[in-house]
Amino acid sequence: MDGQMLVSLGLILATFALYIGISIFNRAKQTSDFYVASRGIPPFWNGMAIGGDWMSAASFIGMAGTVLALGYDGLAYIMGWTGGYLLLTFLLAPQLRKYGRFTVPEFIGDRFDSNPARLIAAIATIIISFTYIVGQLSGSGVVIGRLFSIPAMYGTMIGVVIIAIYATLGGMKGVTWTQVAQYIILIIAYIIPIVFMSLQVTGNPLPWLTYGNVVDEIGAIDRELGLSEYFAPFAESDKSQFIALMFTLMVGTSALPHVIVRFYTVTTMKAARWSGAWALLFIGFLYLSAPAYAAFSRFILMTQVAGQPMDQLPAWTDNWINTGLLEIADQDGDGVLDWTEIAVGNDMVVMATPEIANLGMFVIGLVAAGAMAAALSTAGGLLITISSSFAHDIYYRLVNPQATDQRRLKAGRIAIVLSTVVAGLIALDPPGVITQIVAWAFALAGGTFFPVLFLGVWWKRMNAQGAVAGMLIGLGSTLGYIFLSMNGIMLFGIQDTGAGLIGVPMNLLACIIVSLMTAPPAQRLQDDVIDLRYPEQMTYKDGEVWMNDGTGK
C-alpha cells in the first residue's frame, strides 16, 4: 500500500464513520421518523439533502465527461436535470405536501381511491428505483476498485454493507442528515480541483467566469484541426433529439419518487417551495461547474498532452490507460500524439483531474471520498423509497392494515436489507451500460408518473380509471419506444434516451380521455383537489373556503 492509497482510504473510512455516527444519533423510533423524518426538516437543510439525494455517481463522476465528449450537445443533461426542479417545485411538490401522505404510490392510491392504482404505482416505483440504484452501486464499486486495485466486485460489496447499516438504523431521519453531510463532502470535493485548475490555466480562481474564454480557444483549436467546433450546436445529434432528451430528463426528474418523497419531510407548502429553491441552488453549484471541468480538462489534454512525443507523456496517462478509460495510439506513426489519437472515457474526467492538474494526494483522496458520498447518498434515498413501497404501500396498505407500528418498522427495515442485497447482487454483474439504463429510468419515471401526478393535483375531474390507463399506457409506450428505437425505428430522429417525449404525451392523453369517458370521482375526492389550491390555513369544504383563525371550529 503506497501513501496515496493510505490517504484515500483514511478519508473514505472517516466519512463512513461519520455517516454511521449520524444515523445512530438519529435512530428512527416511529414509522413517521422512518418514512418522512417526522416532517420537521427545515427547508434549507432539506434543500441540501435533496442535493445529496439527487446528485448521483453519474452526476459526480460522469457528467463532466459527457459534456467533454459531446460539446454543446452534452448541455441537454445540464439543462434537463436542473429544469426538472422548476416543474417539480411549481407544479407538484407543494400540493403533494399539503395532501400529506408517506409515499408517491400512497398519494396515487388515496387521491384516486383505488387499490389497483396504488399497486401499479408501487410496482413502478420499485422498478424505477431499482434501475437507478444498480447504477449507484456499480459506481461506488468502480471508485473503490480503482483506488485499491481490487476487483470492482468487492468495492460494490463494501458499498452495499455500509448503506444497509445506516439506512436500516436511521430510516428517513438518519438518511436526511447523512445526505446533508454527503452533499457538503461531495460539493467541496467537486469544486476544489476546478478552482486550482482555473488558477493554473487562467490565473483566476473563479472557474465559472473564466472558462468561457477557454471554450472559445478550444473551438479555435478544433477549427485548425478541421474538426467541428466544441461549442457548435447539434454536431453529435439532431436538434430534435436534443430537445427530446432535455424534455425527458426534465419531466423524469420531477417525477422520480425518491426525490418527491424528500418534499414530504418538511412542514408546509411554503417550506416545500423554499426546499425546491434551496435544492436547485445547491445542485446548481455542481451543474454549473461540470462544463468548466469539461473545458479545462479538454484544454489541458489538447495543449499539454496532444502534440507531445509518444515517449514523453505525463506519468498519470499510464495509470488511466491501465484502467481502460484512456486510449491513445500513434495511428499515423509520426511519433507524436495528436488530439485525434486520444480517446477519453466519460468516467475518467473528474477522477483524473487532480492528477492531470497535479494537485497532490489529499485532493485525490478527497475526490474519491466525494464520489463515494455521491453514490451512497443517492443509494440511501432510493433504498428508503423501495422499502416504503414494499413495507408501507404493499404490506401495510394492501396486505395487513392492522399491523402495529413496531411491526411496520420491522417490515421497513427488513425490506431495506433485502433490497440492498438484491440490488448488490445485480450490481455485481450489471446488465448493459449503466448510464444508458439510468437514462431509461428517467423516461420511465416521467412516462409513468408525471401526467398522473400533475393532473392528480390540478384537475379534480381526473379519476381512478384515467390514472390506471395513463400509468399503463405511459409505461407501455415508453418501454415500446425504447425497444423500437434500439432497433433503429425512430420518429423525428429521437433516440431511446428521448423516449419521454413519446411516453409523457401518450400518458397525458390517456388520463384525460379515459377520465372524461368514465364517471367523475366522488365529491369528497374532488373537494380534496380544490383544497390543494390554498395554503394549510385555508380549507375548502362544501363549496366554501374557510380560514382557520384559531376561533373554534
Binding site: M79, G212, M246
Partner: protein
C-alpha cells in the same frame, strides 16, 4: 373558523397560478427557446463564449434558480397579503397530516 369570500379565495388561487405560469414560461424560453434557435443565438457572445453555449452551460441554470427564489419570496408576500400566518399553517399542517 372564518368564511373566506369566494371572490377572495379565487383571487388567491388566480394570483398564485399566474405567477407559476409566468415563471414556467421564462424557464421554457431560456431552455427550449434558446435551443430551438441555437443557430441564431450563436452570433452573439457572452463572457467570451457564444451565447447559445453560455445559455446551456450557465445562463439557463442561473435563471432557473432565480425563478425559484423569486417565486418563494413573492408567494410568501401573497400569503401575507391574504392574511395567512405561517405559524398557524405549521400547526394546522401538523394536526392534519396523515401519519399512520
Amino acid at each position: 373558523m372564518k368564511k373566506v369570500e369566494k371572490e377572495v379565495a379565487d383571487r388567491y388561487f388566480r394570483t398564485r397560478t399566474t405567477l407559476i405560469i409566468i415563471f414556467l414560461g421564462i424557464g421554457f424560453l431560456v431552455s427550449f427557446g434558446v435551443v430551438a434557435f441555437a443557430e441564431f443565438f450563436s452570433q452573439f457572445t457572452f463572457l467570451g463564449v457564444e451565447l447559445h453555449y453560455y445559455m446551456g452551460s450557465q445562463g439557463a441554470v442561473v435563471i432557473f434558480i432565480l425563478c425559484l427564489f423569486f417565486n418563494a419570496v413573492l408567494s410568501d408576500r401573497i400569503d401575507r397579503k391574504f392574511g395567512i400566518d405561517d405559524e398557524a399553517n405549521t400547526s394546522i399542517s401538523n394536526g392534519k397530516t396523515i401519519n399512520h
